[in-house]
Assembly symmetry: C2
Homo-oligomer: 448 residues x 2
């Protein structure tokens, strides 16, 4: 696709202006000191916190202590003496304020997929108890795939039908036959923020139950679960909560629904008296009802230690910086990287790309230059904490991300042609954002 | 209950004989060197490997490297470069030979409870596909509770009925309406080993599907999953496999059933092409089909490191030593501890105990002496790798275990009155067994 290089060619002036501006923004950043709580490679700009958050300093020591002392020395006694048994609720309480939940409603454990299953089946059961006519499960059609797969299984096992609808269509679609609605708070491809308050209200108005997947919003922006009357929520903890690879997910069970939550995975850790070893299941009260089996303690204590970086940090301040960072990054991208025509691309973030649809322009290296355009909404109210750039030609996106990685700029790539850059205000600076955009300009063969 | 102290009063002769015998057995033990692979407190005899295995030396370094280097330095790249993505299958292959499974059939991840759910629903679906008349799920009535709770949920969600039967009655009960049978290989309370080959054959003969819970046998004795034609199996890895607190469970999917395995938890990690991010679910082939969501990597790599202790160790040698250890322990207990009358107790391992059923005899400390009797079968073919002693009076069992712990003998206690001692041949010596029995004699107020 021919690009209009004239409007993107920077002179030294915008380059210096952007670098100066970055310095200024970093000096004024009230969260700048939090960066010291993380292990960061000075040669790398890590913009993949939306996939795997950076390592907090507190984790290594904590995990080592759990292995050597709690397991190695205390052994089995650590289930009580080192607080292993109560870890899922205790760590849940650390996450609760970040997603706007009062105490006693969040528990960690299992993967996001398993928690989606618990929440969706639990939501359907409550809705059908209210009205047997509620036999439909709605899922937003841009959902992260695993939510859709698990929703399909939940629908099948509970005798419901599954229907995928665009997020914006949910309010007009939810009705007297809707049992539950499973929504992603942030679209993992485009970074678009869905309207949680509005959709939740519409679902409630329709008499159905809401389940929100917060994987790409927990730790990145205020969610307000209690304030907006969300029924169930799940989320992972290894993205903006920095819990480490595959750290346990969390489940939010709204307080006034807990006694009605009828788990499809009633393992012994959710029993009212697990050590009675009773043959009959009797569910625990509170968020404990969302537990299943024995929690993976090493991963759980790593998450607990990781959450210590939030000391003195408000999620509102994180949101303010997040928007400023992604604004800054977009500004820099527009200066440094050829911009693709919004009309020329045949690509869509959710569909396939014709490999011959974009010709590009030759770069200095003799390769076809790559142009990009942002898939992420400009409007703050519709933006999460990542910027997704669609490459043209799309089939070059993987190579672009490899080139970025080789130069120390870490983002990720999602087929068919999307480059994703996550902004974690706890450790990302404005200079990082500017640097990443500049390197992107270099590797795409754009003006430098 | 009055005890016949005369037959239990040791002279110096049996005491010396037992101590000498322990020394002799330890010198002849071909697995003695494996003990060095574990972190063990010399002041403690750890007989709770049936609940939480001891810490292998290899774990600390491996977990530290995963945190500092793989997460801290490589970050997201570790999903491929450090082999995180393939860890569930890779670690499964390390467990496979210990449970008699050829390659490509074992995958780790999730808790035992979650895996019981996958296996039972998967087994029911295959059975019902074979015959719609198969609508009953059998569970052994002495099951570990979580299996029963999860089985009930699986039955409810698939429209089956659940029936609890004694293990011995399964062959006579399984028939044309049986869909699946969920069995515990070893009874967690009594240590009794169920007849896996015989029951599996009977279930197959009835046209139903077998699901075995190997929590208390994997790593303790040969299981022979392939040889005996087991359909599905699950097990935890934190007992005799020493994987650490809450380390991920494993799932065995028999090769010729893998293509028919229809998971109730079809998360994206079980997709044929997870990074296609396709809206439609298409299951992977092989054991990968048993995966769900993102695996908890720190707990998974700890397990992988822990499994290195098996280098050069055969499960057959472990079984031989296990039986010798528990035989030796029982001999020592009979010498050192007052034996309860098998007829006098009103207690049953699965039921309540009348607190007034056993009077006991006064000990030196003025307390009521406690007598014990073994609930574990004498016959080798019916014994797992733990010895369960029923205390009389039963309500003293908790205090007895506390006194043992205070003296450095670690076992555990299960209501109403069972003391459990697990024997892990990889790190337990015959001297450990003798010492534990001697201390038990002291704290029960028996002859010393």
């Amino acid at each position: 696709m021919p690009t209009d290089n004239t409007r993107n060619t920077p002179t030294d002036k915008p380059r210096n202006t952007l670098a100066n501006e970055s310095e200024h923004l970093d000096r004024a950043d009230q969260l700048a000191h939090v960066r010291e709580r993380f292990v960061l490679d000075p040669a790398t700009v890590y913009l993949d916190g939306n996939s795997l958050g950076a390592l907090p300093h507190a984790v290594g020591e904590r995990v080592a202590r759990t292995v050597a002392h709690e397991w190695g020395e205390l052994g089995i006694r650590s289930w009580t003496e080192s607080g292993w048994w109560a870890a899922p609720e205790r760590v849940g309480e650390l996450i609760a304020p970040l997603v706007g939940a009062d105490q006693g409603q969040v528990v960690v454990g299992d993967s996001t997929s398993v928690n989606v299953f618990k929440a969706v089946v639990g939501a359907i059961r409550i809705a059908r108890q209210d009205s047997a006519a509620r036999t439909e499960l709605l899922v937003d059609e841009a959902t992260f795939p695993t939510d859709g797969y698990i929703a399909e299984s939940a629908a099948r096992l509970t005798g419901c039908t599954l229907r995928q609808v665009p997020a914006a269509a949910v309010p007009g679609t939810a009705g007297p036959t809707t049992a539950a609605v499973l929504m992603n708070h942030v679209d993992y491809r485009t970074g678009e923020l869905n309207d949680l308050p509005g959709i939740t209200a519409a679902v409630r108005e329709a008499g159905a139950r809401s389940v929100w997947d917060l994987c790409h919003s927990a730790g990145a922006l205020p969610v307000g679960l209690d304030a907006h009357g969300v029924d169930f929520a799940v989320g992972c903890t290894y993205k903006f909560l920095n819990g480490g690879p595959g750290s346990p997910a969390f489940l939010y069970l709204r307080r006034d629904l807990q006694d009605r939550f009828d788990s499809p995975l009633p393992g012994w850790h959710s029993h009212a008296d697990p050590f009675a070893m009773a043959p009959a299941y009797e569910p625990a009260s509170g968020a404990t009802r969302g537990r299943v089996g024995t929690p993976e303690i090493l991963s759980t204590v790593a998450l607990e230690a990781a959450l210590s970086v939030w000391e003195g940090v408000s999620i509102e301040a994180v949101r303010t910086k997040s928007l400023a960072l992604s604004d800054h990054f977009l500004r820099c991208v527009r200066t440094y990287v050829p911009e693709a025509s919004p009309h020329g691309a045949e690509a869509s973030p959710h569909g396939a790309v014709s490999p011959h649809s974009a010709a590009g322009t030759p770069s200095r290296a003799g390769e076809t230059a790559v142009s990009v355009r942002s898939l992420t909404p400009e409007e703050h109210a519709r933006r999460g904490s990542q910027i997704s750039l669609l490459c043209e030609p799309a089939e070059r996106a993987g190579a672009v991300m490899e080139a970025l990685t080789a130069r120390g700029v870490i983002g990720d790539f999602r087929r068919p042609g999307v480059l994703r850059f996550g902004f974690t205000p706890l450790y990302t600076s404005f200079e990082d954002a500017e640097h990443a955009a500049r390197v992107l300009g270099e590797v795409t063969g754009g003006p430098r």
